[in-house]
Symmetry: C2
């Protein structure tokens, strides 16, 4: 029995929420720099879905099952990356089947696609390669236009490859089917003032625009220290006014605004 998904505090009726689970020992050993999270996060924001949490976890059955079950009950959507290849360390499908309490048979369509692909390339369709046709009972396939072995969707969980270009193709094919929330708009103003100078007026501005999420990010822009002020939100009226408000604030404080 699923508990009802929680939603964003901003807009409890209409903003879908999501969690991402990045699965793979290589992400926790430092061997691999993940680039999948940012891709998924940007696209979710553009689709009006609030990404509430991401977990990076090892190829460990108990840990994967626990993370999937916790996060699928707390969010509208869960996306996983990694662990769906043919080798012994690819255990994500097994974990998802276990999390949902279902069997993990070979999916006839997946098997047929893989067999055709192997035949065309004169690759032997051994037991391990055909592990990639195993889909938790009740799951539907997510197309892999690059190396055929599919991802899958079961319940509100979407299971994708870890290789970035395959993951991206899979995610792009999923995205149109997801419930759209009010699109989260974003504007930014970069200036030469310190965060300590900006803090008080920015706090005041946040109080005037409680429906928006104001952030300040120090960094280097063209070699010099700069602060980027970012406003994000779904309220069109407020978003239309916030850029001018941020610019006026910077100018009133004696700062200079960087051109884009």
């Amino acid at each position: 029995v699923n508990t009802p998904p929680n939603s964003s505090t901003n807009n409890p009726e209409s903003t879908p929420t999501a969690a991402v689970i990045l699965i793979g020992n290589e992400l926790l050993s430092g061997r691999t720099q993940d680039i999948n999270l940012q891709y998924i996060a940007s696209k979710l924001a553009g689709h009006g879905i609030t990404l509430r949490e991401t977990r990076v976890i090892p190829d460990d059955e108990a840990v994967v099952v626990e993370a999937v079950n916790t996060l699928r009950h707390a969010n509208d959507y869960v996306f996983t990356t990694g662990g769906i290849g043919p080798t012994h360390d690819d255990i994500t499908a097994d974990c998802i089947a276990k999390a949902f309490g279902v069997a993990l048979p070979r999916h006839p369509v997946a098997e047929e696609m893989l067999l055709a692909f192997f035949k065309e390339r004169e690759i032997e369709p051994n037991e391990d390669r055909l592990r990639m046709a195993r889909i938790p009972e009740g799951g539907t396939l997510i197309d892999n236009p690059i190396s055929v072995a599919p991802g899958f969707n079961i319940g509100n969980v979407f299971v994708m490859a870890g290789v970035p270009r395959i993951m991206q193709a899979m995610f792009d094919s999923i995205l149109p089917s997801l419930r759209k929330g009010p699109v989260i708009q974003s504007v930014s103003v970069t200036c030469d003032l310190g965060e300590g100078t900006l803090a008080a007026p920015l706090r005041q501005l946040q109080t005037h625009y409680p429906m928006l999420d104001l952030g300040s990010y120090p960094g280097k822009f063209e070699g010099a220290p700069r602060v980027m002020l970012v406003a994000r939100g779904t309220d069109e009226h407020a978003m239309a006014k916030i850029e001018e408000a941020l610019r006026s604030m910077v100018i009133a404080l004696g700062g200079k605004i960087e051109a884009e």
Copy 2:
């Protein structure tokens, strides 16, 4: 009352475990590509500490408090990045104080360092800038050689900046004080065989070397599809033999090994 930390299944007596918490809305909106995790993960591996889990969470008090309390009880060490600047969205120190149930006064040494830094640069030491001197009661400072505002350590939790070069300096100053585990060694062999060809013999090799963690990672190397086989572990005897075993396996399967 702390529950005893769990340890790695490999070496329950002597391998310290860790979790990382990356804090910041910008990581979940896709605005920022995190590069802190890989830095921390690599250095922990080199120090013999097993990184068991990472969470990426928003600047939301309830979420941060829950993550910190869950992970500090389950691991020997917890490292956080982000949210220790002067602006309203910098709430990490408040969250840590709440998680530990302690007050958040200005730390006299931190305050003195900040005041000296501001004076030297003719910066006004306003209330917001001095927020960065607030350290949970009982915490000790982590030096910030770049912009002075310190991180801090309380219990087994280490709180660091989000800006990568500041985080790196902070982490490097912490690392020598952490308990060292048996160093996790790693070897890799890259070859031109498919994962489906490698899967069965690799599975067998994993059975012969249960003390090691064998992984296979498909990717492009110099433009052509290649698979990198990686062995990681602390058992010196097994690690001395595994590279030759991986190479022999590839050659027996008719594959070619890539030079480094």
